[in-house]
Symmetry: C2
Subunit: 169 residues, 2 copies
């Protein structure tokens, strides 16, 4: 017998827990992105991050829709994973004064954030399908595709920035 | 003028910094995996995690090869990102007593670790190519493919586990 109550005992509860984790992660991203936009030097990178900030807000509103339908509160979890990923990025980006190297560091950090989300949304999409909730599968797929697209776009921008970073200092 | 010395001023230095980050991340994984293997209930999941522990050791030895050729020390960075991702997983896995839900939580957590590594190895592979180091591109590609394969295998195992988790409690 457990000495204290466990709060995740079936797939639906795990689904809700993971959605809360993603919800908190997205909030952390909306706080972190403006700082990265400010530090970015390439106008193409600034624009891509700015666009992703808008997209993130839509992703939050999709999660809000699901929470509303579930009748569950959205807040309550702190995503330690995203906290670590963002802290790692902050520390890396502060290590360089060179504009191209700073931009390459921002891209690296942003791609880790994207992949963390790709894993998270991949999981909840699978859970939603397993729970027979096709409307949620659709909403979560849309976000998942946006995260993959953001990752791909960052890889493309990295192409030109890495050449400049190679020739720096 | 910077008030203190910046240590990442070109692509090669950023490459080394990122390799150190991955190196520390892999060390953290070799410490975390045995605990997850111990907690896993499905024999298929246990075997997959066990196999990944072996693969992780080979991945560390590939990084060692690159550090040797670079003439750089491998240690020195603490990967705050991986620390957060693992802490997040520990906390999630401790929330359930149900065997299938615990396994689904382990898979979710392990996939976040995999994706964090996919982002990291994707970056250093691109940097190595930019630096004209094809031998390193080969070594890092091999690891990147292994990480993607591990992620895919976990998704497959999740199929049967999620059905059990749905019917739990």
């Amino acid at each position: 017998m457990a000495l204290f109550s466990m709060d995740v005992e079936n797939l639906q509860q795990l689904f809700v827990e993971q959605l809360r984790d993603l919800y908190d992660g997205e909030q952390q991203i909306t706080e972190a992105l403006p700082k990265l936009i400010d530090k970015a030097n390439s106008s193409q990178l600034k624009a891509a991050l700015q666009e992703h900030l808008q997209v993130t807000r839509q992703q939050i509103s999709r999660l809000d829709q699901i929470f509303k339908q579930l009748g569950e509160r959205a807040s309550g979890e702190t995503c330690k994973g995203m906290k670590g990923v963002i802290a790692e990025g902050d520390s890396l980006v502060s290590k360089s004064n060179d504009p191209a190297v700073t931009d390459a560091s921002i891209i690296t950090s942003a791609q880790r954030v994207e992949h963390y989300e790709i894993a998270g949304y991949g999981t909840v999409k699978t859970f939603a399908r397993q729970l027979g909730q096709n409307a949620w599968v659709q909403l979560l797929s849309q976000t998942l595709e946006e995260e993959k697209e953001a990752d791909h776009k960052l890889s493309q921008i990295a192409g030109t920035i890495n050449v400049r970073a190679r020739e720096a200092a």
